[in-house]
Symmetry: C2
Subunit: 498 residues, 2 copies
Amino acid sequence: MPIPPDAFFLDPAAGLPLQVQLRRQIIAAVTAGRFRAGEKLPSTRALARHLGVARVTVAQAFAELVSTDYLASRDRSGHYISDSIERRLEAGPPAPDTPRFDWDSQLEGRFARAQRRDRERDWRGFAYPFVYGQADPALVDHAAWRDCAMRALGRREFDSLTGDLYDADDPELVDHIARHILPRRGISAGRDEIVLTMGAQNALWLVAQVLLRPGTSCAIEDPSYPGQREILRASRARILPVPVDARGLPPDAIPPGVAAVFTTASHQCPTNSTMPLPRRKELLARAQDQGFAVVEDDYEFEMSFAGAPSPALKAIDRAGAVIYIGSFSKSVFPGVRLGYLVADPRFIAEARALRGMMLRHPPGHMQRTLAHFLSLGHYDAQANRMRNAYARRRAVMLAAIAHHGLTLASPQASGGSSLWLATPDGVDSAELAARLRPRGVLIEPGAAFYADPVQGRGFFRLAYSSITAERIPQGIAWIAQALGEIAAAGPHLPLIRP
Amino acid sequence: MPIPPDAFFLDPAAGLPLQVQLRRQIIAAVTAGRFRAGEKLPSTRALARHLGVARVTVAQAFAELVSTDYLASRDRSGHYISDSIERRLEAGPPAPDTPRFDWDSQLEGRFARAQRRDRERDWRGFAYPFVYGQADPALVDHAAWRDCAMRALGRREFDSLTGDLYDADDPELVDHIARHILPRRGISAGRDEIVLTMGAQNALWLVAQVLLRPGTSCAIEDPSYPGQREILRASRARILPVPVDARGLPPDAIPPGVAAVFTTASHQCPTNSTMPLPRRKELLARAQDQGFAVVEDDYEFEMSFAGAPSPALKAIDRAGAVIYIGSFSKSVFPGVRLGYLVADPRFIAEARALRGMMLRHPPGHMQRTLAHFLSLGHYDAQANRMRNAYARRRAVMLAAIAHHGLTLASPQASGGSSLWLATPDGVDSAELAARLRPRGVLIEPGAAFYADPVQGRGFFRLAYSSITAERIPQGIAWIAQALGEIAAAGPHLPLIRP
């Protein structure tokens, strides 16, 4: 790619001849690696015009740089960055001698410190990726998405593609959610009760920022989604973990004085338990009595292939205390970065204003493409295909788990895309994960899910959303073998098990 | 569209016959407007299978609803929501009798309160839209974008489209920014010094959250971009406005003790003044002496058609105190929702972690499409086309302004996409705007740009990014006529002019 004239500028106040300035600028760009060997410079005529200097000034600077071997001149075709330059640069640029701004004292580092580091970005390179929440090329209807994206790129959709929507959402997408998706969860909501988000992660962030402030308390399930804990920590609220049991969050264990309770009632993350209806009613009654809001993350409802459909908490929320979070990350694909909040119009107005301030709106093109994907029936077809594939994969996985004598840690009633397992006594799932990596097996150790990571060491999550049914038995066999090796290596300290 | 079986569920604990529950659910959905006249219900067989009940239960419920005229039965083709239902619903649903959750006491309303309400969402319906920051179909290369989007939808790009990238960015896009865009501003940056954002708005939000906390102080230009003030208010930092002059922000007026200074040095928003090099050097020297970070919003550098190119503050920042913000909203289109931060690696690590928590990442598809748009040269071509069109429009506008005797409020040296005007003494630009709306003319009153809105009443912004050159003279004529009418209506209180 040729280097454009725009890459150059002169400083009339620099007190240096223009020709020298230009030379220094080219040398600095070459030594910093911005200009690379073989790249073509602008013509002397174009560069002189751009800089507002005489052409001879540019020509002199170029000639000088050719003589010092920074540039090479090829007859009639112009000037290029010299090929021999890379060798001379191996020593690297000299250390800067100016004082540096003291960033360490300016930054608390609280965001980077809270970051989760146990996920493998290059999971596609593993033969047995039991990773959660990624897209499977075999299940996503790429051709249908492409077709919908083409429609959303049409002439008539220019405004939704290019415009600044301020704080508005795509009306077709919101309408489809209100009329076709929420009713499946028993939820009836008007337009002023819905706001689009950049996935469930962004929805949780908005909720935390609107509801909580430093000093307020909130209750969360323990174990729970690690990203949720990061978000709540960043709000500086007090986080009170409530241990879940086989029926999810026990309402009578919620401490007094909390402003909000975060729950994954229909499909507890990561244990996959389902909260029965009496407990749901009790939770809502307590919300009314104690004055706390209930944040319901219904992140995976489309994947409930194993149990009978049960209504969302929001569906039986007559007082309007529930803030409902939905996401298209699991049923479409995570890269779509779209989800939604459903709540009282006053709450939605706040969340919408905050979203506008943070990022304006999710890209209109993604919204419109998803609206087409939904209204043309691709979403239903894809969710169906996923449910069927997941049911098959889970059956294969449960058989392999039984065959190898591994232990399920909780009832697995409603389906979903993962299982929650316990290690044999004394085995740390982080050690298991480390031992499995070289064999191409990726599992999720339990520590990240717990308020006290030690409590999670005896657990791990195995997702089947990105591994084929054919690969599952061998992957489980590797896990069983690694557990056997760890046991053979000697006794372990018993782990605390909640 | 047929109503799917998923829209229905039963509650075994409800203490009501299943047939009655099903009927109530259909009636509730119809009265709430979720099911609409003419929509087809699932077959009795499909619905019975879905709910796990006998088919006769569903058939009985349907028969009952046909007799009460909620449903209509068409021979052999099934059941439909009755056409006569809409007439019966005119009275609306009854008022709920349950106590409601007390949202008013839970919400501070601080985000919605801070929201800007002076922008017209339907600006496309106006004949003379002097609106800022929107895309012009005549200048955006829609066909090229479409072509790039098609590439980004190809089979080989499945992962960048669908995957959860955790906190990573598209490497091709970052590489292009580092090698081809930043050098034009004199900036040299490595990959660990760049993070992508959802436009400049999101970049400012990230910066404010990382740098500021309740109680810390920051200095901003006055007037300045209204969205920036909203963001800083939300961080609960102390905001100290510093009046700008014809050369932008005066460094010696920055109050002591600030943690950060926000500036639009190259192209002050909204006055369009350019900070000269000596002042830039003084600002950076003070940053080093007083220990504040400098946040440089270089939001429109591609549109500098009128002046010679000058380096960014970041280009001469040897201490590493500058956080640089770039955006593709102006040079590509605002709906792309992509921008970037360039700063010290420690700062970028914090901003990246925070972005991951807030929203993970901008959609991979938008990132990859933009990477193609840049690397295929469409960005350069489009920015060029915009610069040429803006130069022409501005010339037409300046001629019309001179012809009608309107007043420019500041020197307009470097180009851009708008002019900053002053009203004749005593005229409030909000009144002017209100008078112009019925004539199809949209202008931006100055109040929103000032820390003290009263100070902005004597100013207004006229952008030429979304109005054709042909329309400009008549639009300016309307403005002059409206000012004449206001003057004729009588004397006005003199406005404070900074």
